[in-house]
Amino acid sequence: MTLLKVDKAARNFGGLKAVDQVSFEMESGTIMGLLGPNGSGKTTLLNLISGFLAPSSGKIIFNGQNLAGARVDKIARAGIARTFQLVRILPSLTLLENVMLPAVFGHQAHWGKEADRVAREALEKTGLGDRAGAHAGDLNYIDQKRLELARALAAEPELLLLDEWLAGLNPTELQEGIRLISSLSGSGITIIMVEHIMEAVRALCPRCAVMNAGKLIADGETSQVLSDKSVIAAYLGDAEDA
């Protein structure tokens, strides 16, 4: 069943076309890599889907509803959660409170013991279960990332948007991260992951979409996409530049 249909989404900043007529569909339960050189519009596209930015034109249809331009919290309550490229956590709350937010205010609207349970489960999944009462402001970078993911999971989302979540991890952490995302995908969550780490992309994503200068230049089976000439050109420049 088609969970997400992005239909000619576009976002302009003055004269700059950050996202230029991007269209694709996703079935529920699938996982897709979103690749592209820096500045190609990947994060902007995620921002359009999560509602942080409104599209200049086009539709974003989620579960049959067009959410383009809707308010961020409404989109969140529809079942979409995300992490951010620059980690955003709430430093004056505890880990548990940080993670409880979407459990309480998301579409499941838990409270009390239920919210507590959902939050703790999410913390367990990302390895932070034993520090639920600690202050989020004291965390190091890696743990902050884990917290952010736990928060996204506590929303019990149908669609999860990961913005370079694996960036900055050492090899061990990277393998752990890949395993974690794999298990999430296995549990039925639909995932779009913006990534630069090809190892992770090949391991996790059977399908990839590639953006360049705002346009979607490739969308298909991963190994095919990664050997596509225009994709290589986008990353490395044309043959004559080499």
Partner: protein, 304 residues
């Protein structure tokens, strides 16, 4: 539970105080209670969301002026109700226009709001009704006012405690840290802020209404005194704006200091207050209670 019992006991003790103190001391207690109520009501919204409202006196003065206008035509409880409603309406106007935007617009709007309301009322009174000064002839003793103010203190602090435990409290704290994250978690930013701000502003308006009979003669220039906004903020900040008892801890000593300063340095006290304010912002940005916590933590760490 124990804390609640202690708080209630303290409240009961405070309620019987008027039997044992002089007229002057009762006046002081009314003043203290007024500012504890103001600071607590202020912190209810601004403490967690970090949206600094500089408009305390706009609402306080409106409450007082409502009583001044209506006290001879309507029974007292109705007047108080009207004051509350007008305060809420004003808060909605301010909130609906500024709380959907970044915090800076809210602060700026509240900064000029008191002046605006004062000028509007002055213009109206001078041009249309022709009565610039008004009289409050209410049969209320100082004790009556004290008890009402004490009730408002209890309501303000009680509401804050209840909100802190509720969904609203969690949402407000999230908003104070990062609105983007809060929104992505499903929090309706504007509605949450508007709701809390309206509660806070209505309480402040009621404080002004209840305090007004002490004046007898009321004029826009008197009731819209910027020092009220100023003191409210510094008291809440000093004690700790995001703590339940912070505003109270900040209000009591500062009020006494203010009383002493305005008697002994009637011309220069604004300078002292301003310097104190700046000192608090620099030295104790999170307030006294947070400072105590830090000290305790540090002593705890150095223990073997």
């Amino acid at each position: 539970m124990i804390r609640l019992a202690i708080a209630l006991a303290a409240l009961a003790a405070l309620a019987v105080v008027p039997m044992f103190v002089s007229e002057y001391e009762l006046g002081l207690m009314i003043g203290m209670a007024t500012y504890v109520a103001l600071a607590s009501a202020w912190a209810l919204f601004s403490g967690h969301t970090r949206y600094i409202s500089l408009a305390t006196v706009a609402f306080y003065g409106t409450g007082a002026y409502t009583v001044a206008v209506l006290n001879e035509t309507l029974p007292y409880p109705v007047v108080i109700l009207c004051a509350g409603l007008i305060g809420a309406a004003m808060a909605l106007l301010v909130g609906l226009s500024t709380l959907r935007l970044s915090g800076i617009y809210f602060v700026i709007f509240t900064f000029g709001l008191a002046e605006l309301v004062r000028q509007l009322i002055t213009w109206y009174e001078v041009t249309i009704t022709g009565t610039l000064g008004r009289y409050i002839f209410l049969d209320l003793s100082a004790r009556d006012i004290y008890w009402q103010m004490l009730a408002l203190v209890a309501i303000a602090i009680g509401l804050t405690a209840w909100i802190n435990r509720s969904r609203l409290g969690l949402a407000l704290r999230a908003i104070g840290d990062d609105e983007v994250v809060a929104a992505h978690s499903g929090i309706h930013l504007a509605r949450t802020k508007l709701f809390a701000f309206t509660i806070s502003a209505t309480l402040i308006t009621l404080v002004g209404a209840v305090a007004s009979p002490r004046w007898v003669y009321v004029e826009p220039l008197i009731v819209f005194n910027p020092t009220v906004s100023f003191l409210t903020v510094i008291m809440a900040l000093l004690g700790g704006a995001n703590r339940l008892w912070g505003p109270l801890v900040g209000a009591i000593p500062l009020f006494l200091l203010f009383e002493w300063l305005s008697v002994n340095f009637p011309d220069t006290y604004p300078i002292f207050l301003g310097l104190m304010f700046i000192a608090v912002v620099f030295v104790l940005p999170n307030g006294l209670l947070a400072g105590f916590d830090d000290l305790r933590a540090r002593f705890g760490r150095t223990k073997p």
